[in-house]
Chain length 466, copies 2
């Protein structure tokens, strides 16, 4: 980030686009108060914004050359007590896109420029209001669409994850300092850093890093939604099942107009966890395009899924056919951490569950009637189990960000090299290189070590106005 | 509006739906502060919201049973100094639809209910914060998409229109009181209300009401956009012309990401006035579906337009053909307050404008090259003239609302009846009935006279959260 860019005063709408009661426009930078002064007339006649205290909403008029643009509430945030750490102004105006545009135009005429995506949060980072992993969590929080993703983002934003990383880094830093000191006294052949202590530390650190790395697959799945594939022959009730699950959960969510509008189709939140139902062929396409059991044709889709629901018509399917499907599944997919749940559908058409079906109990089988919405809660509970096998307390420290995952991988490799180096009794200056690599990777997570390029990449993914 | 409904505390998102940096959730009613107290923990440990002053943004946590939902800024507005005139709370949270839903759920659990569309503004009206025409202007302001519509809505919201209506009504009210007094003393045959003065007043009032009524067609057109139809043979350059006009204006509007997303297709704002280009056949449909000159087939579309642009290929069109079209136009459409502008296109294909085309100057003809964007500004200026024939000062009092137009029509008729009654020397008690009718209609505009039904109809058209 070039220094001169931080000198700019930036503006952007902070609320979603569209017609609404209210919209918020943000202004941040040295000139925020001056620019606001140039366009805002407080009701009651007081003139200068500097006379108003920070965080106080002031009613007044946005004007351009005496012509009234809008009646607004305006709030000053005096540095450093603002989101960015700079002087900020928020204008709460009538939610007409046209009026928002007029106010932004006015700000730009008075010397502000449009903010880049994520620029407010980047400034918050550069001004020391939050570290890099916390800044990344802001974007995750905004796009969270389930309790699990919200909670993970919130924990990360509050700095729990950063704190752990910084602690790990601090320990390595201390040893690194001792090793560097040894190098200064290398002719005297002293050992300030006890090699056994260092090995203990490395083992401990490596174990922690590996645990964090391992949490990524679950963290990522929780953040984006657990991918579920529904497969089966035509007309066994795939869509009906999906609708039944959807209804089951919709009943719990209170009916708030406007809040479900943005729900991604086929993502269903169960017990606070998002499940992303993959659109396998046959679910949407004309059902008769698939003649055989689903696995062959939907193989690629299955590869993306963590959970596979194999649904069959219990009133018409033989055990042989199920066994054949299971065999095909194992051959093509293996287990690969995938969970296969058998759904015996259409039990409403049967007088009783046939005796020989009992053998299916060894496999994970749920008998349902998607049509009559019977036993659907058994299925949703079963889906949740996949997630809940990971104990709650460890969830605070799930890695959800692929950048963090890569940095942890890099740090892990460096630590492995250090450990090997110590065992091989390599000289301190070579150890030192690997130590610095480990420090670099851990530091890149929180932003203690960073580059313009990385910042540009991270904040470029944010929305405008954040 | 039933009184008990005003006892409810209502909540709703006030910003547009979608993922964004910030979202605002509103709470209004007796229990607003209590509900907010039940879910908000201010940073710094102070507990009761009552300890914080009105209009002060407070940083803190939204919590449900010790579990953190979001970090927010919360503002109290202490009655009567709020939008609704009631105790209000605004929560500025992270703009995730999921988080918004959680906060709304929490408010509902604590005793609020979801607001109906327009309910905040209806309460502002019922609590005397604004009159009915001002409340209606809030909705117009939010949906304004041009300088003209914004300005009209703002004037109306600020009460300029209401003031004039109330003044008119006040005068009639005074005379009405005198007439009523005469009725009390009817046996003494006195005339408190001088009939000549009354007639003067009626003439004056009627003139004003008629002027307001007449402004409706222009006001409505400015509010919704001036309807323009582009007609002409295939391949004369209709789409190219529309694009050229669009480009001409886009260059002026500063490029703000996100602000043009909601622009209605084919509505172009020129000099602050919206022009709504009607989709005439041939503009979108396959061009060769129209064989003849446009008027015959596009007759219906032309009926909706205030301005008709008849475009022809100047390099290939004979004066005879133009004359024939003009004749057809006059026969089928007449003038009916419609303006016909001739666009002689493709002047880039011609060495010079043919001498005989000079006769077209008597008609309103503009020679352009849509392809090379030549002379397009002449056209846009000409379009603006239609609107600017109405002097600026009268625009403050344009009627834009069909409900107001109907009320003014009703009041006008009643006044006509009164005037006739006076001339015919009908008894005071009969005059009195017409006077009350006039008062009723004028009072219904500002809401001095109203009914639950009318309120329901007006506010039902608002968006949620306003």
């Amino acid at each position: 980030m070039k220094k001169h860019q931080l000198q700019d005063t930036i503006c952007a709408p902070a609320t979603a686009a569209g017609v609404a009661a209210i919209a918020i426009i943000r202004l941040s930078g040295n000139k925020a108060t001056d620019i606001a002064d140039g366009m805002f007339k407080p009701a009651g006649g007081q003139k200068e914004l500097a006379n108003f205290s920070s965080h106080k909403m002031i009613f007044g008029h946005i004007v351009r050359e005496e012509s009234l643009i809008d009646e607004v509430l305006l709030t000053r945030f005096v540095a450093p007590h603002s989101y960015t750490g700079e002087d900020m102004v928020e204008v709460s105006c009538h939610g007409s896109p046209y009026i928002q545009q007029q106010i932004l135009n006015l700000m730009i005429e008075l010397g502000a420029r449009m903010a880049h995506p994520g620029e407010f949060t980047m400034r918050a980072f550069l001004n020391g209001r939050m570290d890099l992993s916390q800044a990344e969590a802001v974007a995750d929080l905004i796009s969270s669409n389930s309790e699990a993703s919200r909670k993970m983002a919130m924990n990360q934003m509050r700095g729990h994850f950063s704190k752990r990383i910084m602690e790990l880094r601090q320990k390595i830093l201390e040893f690194s300092a001792l090793i560097e000191l040894e190098l200064d006294f290398s002719e005297e052949d002293v050992e300030f850093a006890n090699r056994d202590d260092l090995l203990d530390l490395l083992n401990e650190t490596e174990a922690e890093i590996n645990a964090l790395r391992d949490s990524f697959s679950m963290g990522n799945v929780l953040k984006l939604g657990v991918p579920v594939a529904i497969i089966g022959k035509p007309n066994v009730g795939k869509s009906t099942l999906l609708n039944a699950i959807l209804n089951e959960e919709r009943a719990i969510v209170s009916e708030i107009p406007g809040t479900t509008r943005d729900a991604i189709e086929d993502t269903i939140t169960i017990g606070g966890v998002a499940f992303r139902f993959i659109d396998t062929a046959g679910l949407r396409e004309s059902e008769d395009t698939i003649e055989k059991v689903g696995i062959g044709r939907t193989y690629e889709k299955i590869q993306q899924a963590s959970i596979i629901l194999y649904i069959f018509d219990a009133s018409q399917t033989s055990l042989d056919e199920i066994a054949e499907t299971m065999k095909e599944f194992r051959e093509r997919v293996g287990d690969e951490n995938k969970r296969l749940i058998l759904i015996a559908n259409k039990i409403d058409l049967m007088e009783e569950i046939p005796h020989h079906f009992r053998s299916l109990v060894d496999l994970e089988t749920i008998f349902v009637s998607a049509k009559r919405k019977e036993n659907i809660s058994m299925l949703t509970e079963s889906l949740l189990k996949t997630v809940e096998q990971h104990p709650e307390e460890s969830r605070d420290l799930l890695v959800t960000n692929s950048r963090h995952f890569e940095a942890l991988t890099g740090a892990g490799k460096a630590i492995e090299a250090i450990r090997k180096g110590i065992t091989d009794q390599i000289p301190g200056d070579l150890l030192s290189i690997d130590l610095r690599t480990a420090l670099h990777h851990l530091g890149s997570i929180t932003g203690e070590v960073t580059s313009d390029e990385i910042l540009g990449e991270i904040f470029g993914r944010f929305c405008i106005g954040k």
